[in-house]
């Protein structure tokens, strides 16, 4: 199947004609940053990073964990923990229906997938959030899954790694969602007291209650290039201060400059970087 070569010259954008777009659909995807048409397969092999401009496409939760764990192998955890509808919440549609549609559309049981396995030989409990599930929002189920992940790590002296991608707390569960920030942070206090590592990786976008809780509590905090990271969303800030935001505001590089991140890491270097950090943070069990 290796009919293409990695060092293939730059592919021209398919700019003219509907026909071409239709014919190439399924094989190509256009980079939203540099407009280059990329082979889907090529993109997959580069971990969904544009090989021309380095743009990081959003990555699904399961793919994220596969890239992290050694040989892509991990044991999924707490998949039965899913969202309920504690407030009988109805907006433009009932929350119950929203959950069901999100599950069908994303193929995921919840906005975070968690699992355990080895990373560079280290025992790791990892979670990855997914924007395609109600905007990666955090409700009770997400809070419970992350808390269990932390507790499992504490039981077996493992490390915790969480890849965030979230618009924040899930409105449809009201104050219960807000309290997940508390619940997870309290669990992280214990992990911290136990001397176990927590690496937080912030991907595009991470905002609101997720940023203002566990995402900013990593022993080491990593951002993916150009990821939007903030407490308030850019639109809320613009409405408050009634002016346009400066270019690059709330992007990873901006946070790095302001001392809020340890590093900005290309996704293709992510695993090696994490293994390097774990080597420092984990005790060798011989």
């Amino acid at each position: 199947m290796s009919w293409f070569r990695r060092d293939k010259p730059k592919i021209e954008g398919q700019k003219d004609g509907e026909d071409q777009t239709v014919r190439t659909e399924g094989i190509f995807v256009k980079c939203s940053e540099c407009d280059t048409a990329l082979y889907k397969r090529e993109l997959r092999e580069s971990n969904q990073v544009c090989i021309h401009c380095g743009h990081h496409f959003r990555l699904g939760a399961r793919e994220r964990l596969e890239l992290l764990f050694d040989e892509g192998a991990y044991e999924p955890l707490d998949e039965e923990v899913t969202s309920d509808d504690p407030l009988d919440f109805v907006d433009s549609k009932p929350y119950k229906q929203r959950i069901k549609e999100a599950q069908e559309k994303s193929g995921l049981p919840e906005a975070i997938i968690s699992g355990k396995g080895l990373v560079g030989g280290h025992k790791v409990y990892a979670g990855a959030m997914d924007m395609s599930f109600i905007g990666g929002s955090m409700g009770s189920a997400v809070g419970e899954k992350i808390t269990r992940l932390i507790e499992r790590a504490m039981k077996t002296d493992g490390a915790v790694i969480i890849f965030s991608a979230s618009g924040g707390a899930r409105m449809q569960e009201g104050t219960l969602s807000l309290m997940q920030m508390a619940k997870i942070s309290v669990a992280l206090a214990r992990l911290h007291d136990a001397g176990l590592p927590f690496i937080s990786v912030l991907t595009d976008p991470t905002t609101g209650g997720v940023t203002a809780s566990f995402a900013m509590l990593g022993d080491v905090i990593i951002g993916e290039p150009k990821a939007l990271i903030g407490f308030a969303g850019p639109r809320v800030i613009e409405q408050t201060i009634r002016q346009k935001l400066p270019k690059g505001f709330q992007r990873s590089e901006f946070l790095l400059e302001h001392g809020m991140l340890d590093m900005v890491v290309d996704r293709r270097e992510m695993k090696d970087t994490i293994v390097r950090l774990l080597d420092f943070m984990m005790k060798k069990d011989d």
Binding site: V186, A212, L217
Partner: protein, 277 residues
Amino acid sequence: MDTSNESAFERVQRARHPQRPYALDIFEHVFTDFKELHGDRRFADDPAIVAGFARIDGTEVAVIGQQKGRDTNQRRHRNFGMPKPEGYRKALRIMKLAEKFSRPIITFVDTPGAYPGIDAEERGQAEAIAYNLREMAHLRVPTIIVVLGEGGSGGALAIGIGDRVLMFENAVYSVISPEGCAAILFKDATRAEKAANSLKLTASDLQALSIIDEIVPETQEWEFSEDSAEEFSANKVTAGLKAVLLRHLRELGKITKEDLLEKRFEKFRAMGKWAGA
């Protein structure tokens, strides 16, 4: 007075009313000998958070709260009760002082939310809130939270981790303002009333959801006049508070530090409702 049949949105309006007592009013009326402490020792002093030492019935405590203003100048000075990172860092600094000198902590929550601005983001608003959540989890002194007026999301929670969470009868505590929720989910900011109801943000709602421990009753008659700020009377709203605080301080004082932390952890650990085992 019995206000159990009031709509959620009426309570939101009461929680925001300038006639309500603010943190400094409580420090003055319920406590004695308040001595304010300023600054986060890192960047600035944030007037949206007030903190210091006080006494309640002779007992030394640290008191901390978000502070709003009543007139235009005061409102601006207090940034409408919306703290910046330095405010949250000041709050934690005072909490750590209380821990160092083995004094209980009482916090008063009253904010529309943490300030959403360029400077706040630059200085790490999210980190400041997150760090407080984690550090409050293992403060080795009794900590009581009182939701006084508006409990506006993460900006409120940032001083909201403790052994007891009490809430005034007409206070609200929510993940998002009803107006914000209406604008995003109902695509119509004028439907705030419906959103307020859906969000289950009143004291009785939150007691039923096991998020708060106790409702502090209010004796204030809510007949607002145009110049209500002049008629403000903290005593009416807060008459019952002192006895409630003393009771909880007494109870918490009997618990060992280890048990205190264990119970605090279990309290927040239990929050949330989900499907599946």
